[in-house]
């Protein structure tokens, strides 16, 4: 049985020579119909979900907008409380404090009791500062040790 190379498939055609038992496909169909189990996902009636209300749809966006508005208000408030050019907390810039500290009477009246006169004088001596240079003459008389 010599067959030319190029004609092999043409000569045989689409036949594969296979057969099935008589009535196989009809039997198979019938058997399968009885074998299919209940498919819960596909055969259960689908639960209908109520459509979402307008408020439910926009609620996350409203919450987010409120949060940003709150942050913006806080930033605005801090910027209003801060003086232009930034806050200078040095004593020289505080009018009340600087005038009080430059007033000898204030220092003598309010700070004197808090420190020991002897310690102050000893500090001054060790720093080679003359007491006369620092205090008025009448004060020195009172401070006589």
């Amino acid at each position: 049985m010599k067959i030319e190379k190029e004609n092999i498939l043409d000569k045989i055609g689409r036949k594969d020579g296979m057969t099935v038992p008589e009535g196989y496909f009809a039997d198979f169909q019938q058997r399968m119909e009885g074998m299919l189990p209940f498919n819960e996902d596909a055969e259960s009636p689908r639960k209908l979900q109520a459509p979402r209300s307008f408020w439910e749809k926009v609620r996350p966006f409203v919450y987010m907008a409120a949060m940003f508005a709150g942050v913006w208000c806080m930033v605005k408030m801090f910027s209003m409380l801060t003086p232009a050019g930034g806050m200078d907390l040095s004593i020289d810039n505080n009018e009340v404090l600087s005038s009080a500290l430059s007033d000898d009477t204030f220092i003598y009246e309010y700070l004197r009791d808090d420190v020991s006169g002897r310690e102050v004088l000893e500090e001054m001596y060790s720093d080679s500062i003359a007491v006369e240079d620092m205090m008025p003459a009448d004060s020195l008389e009172e401070l006589s040790l």
Binding site: I8, K15, D16, M18, Q29, L36, N39, D41
Partner: protein, 186 residues
């Protein structure tokens, strides 16, 4: 022996999606596709009994996952894929069970062909079956789909996940090997 491809039916897919009609629609699917799927499987595994079991599993798997079938792919492509996976899995299990390598699968398939009782006695067709059985698994698959099932390369590409170019090359190689088989076994 009608081995024609069934036509796609959009109303069938729509009925498959409805809980009330899906079982009846799936019965129609089985009616339409059991024959083409059977031949596809049978040509891979050669034995009628094995093909029968695999076809059964194919439809059971398809039924279990019918909810996931959205109709994006064609119904036939979806079923072909399941049948193909089932066939390849079966062949791998058989190789393991019989302790044969993928390279020695040919002799096992030839034995099945020779002992097959469901044949029409056509000697040439039988010889072609043996020639196809001598091909590597992928080439055998491509040859069967193109030659017997007359699928288009696009659809084969979708089912097998291989480029059209690679499929054409694979088919060409398969034909050459079959011709060589006939030349060697004259």
């Amino acid at each position: 022996m009608a081995k024609e491809q069934p036509r796609e039916d959009s109303s069938l897919i729509e009925r498959l999606r409805q809980p009330q009609t899906c079982r009846e629609a799936f019965n129609d699917v089985m009616r339409q596709y059991s024959e083409p799927l059977y031949w596809q499987i049978r040509r891979m595994v050669e034995s009628h009994d094995d093909a029968n079991d695999i076809l059964q599993n194919t439809f059971l798997k398809a039924w279990q996952s019918v909810e996931g079938f959205r109709g994006d792919a064609k119904l036939s492509t979806w079923l072909y894929k399941i049948a193909l996976n089932e066939s390849i899995t079966f062949l791998a299990k058989e190789r393991k069970r019989l302790s044969i390598s993928i390279d020695n699968e040919e002799s096992h398939l030839v034995n099945l062909i020779e002992s097959d009782e469901y044949v029409d006695g056509d000697a040439l067709a039988l010889k072609l079956r043996k020639a196809v059985a001598s091909l590597p698994e992928k080439q055998r698959l491509v040859f069967n789909m193109k030659y017997y099932d007359e699928l288009k390369y696009d659809q084969m590409s979708e089912i097998l996940g291989t480029s059209v170019g690679a499929l054409k090359a694979s088919y060409h190689l398969a034909v050459k090997k079959i011709e060589q088989y006939f030349a060697d076994n004259d």
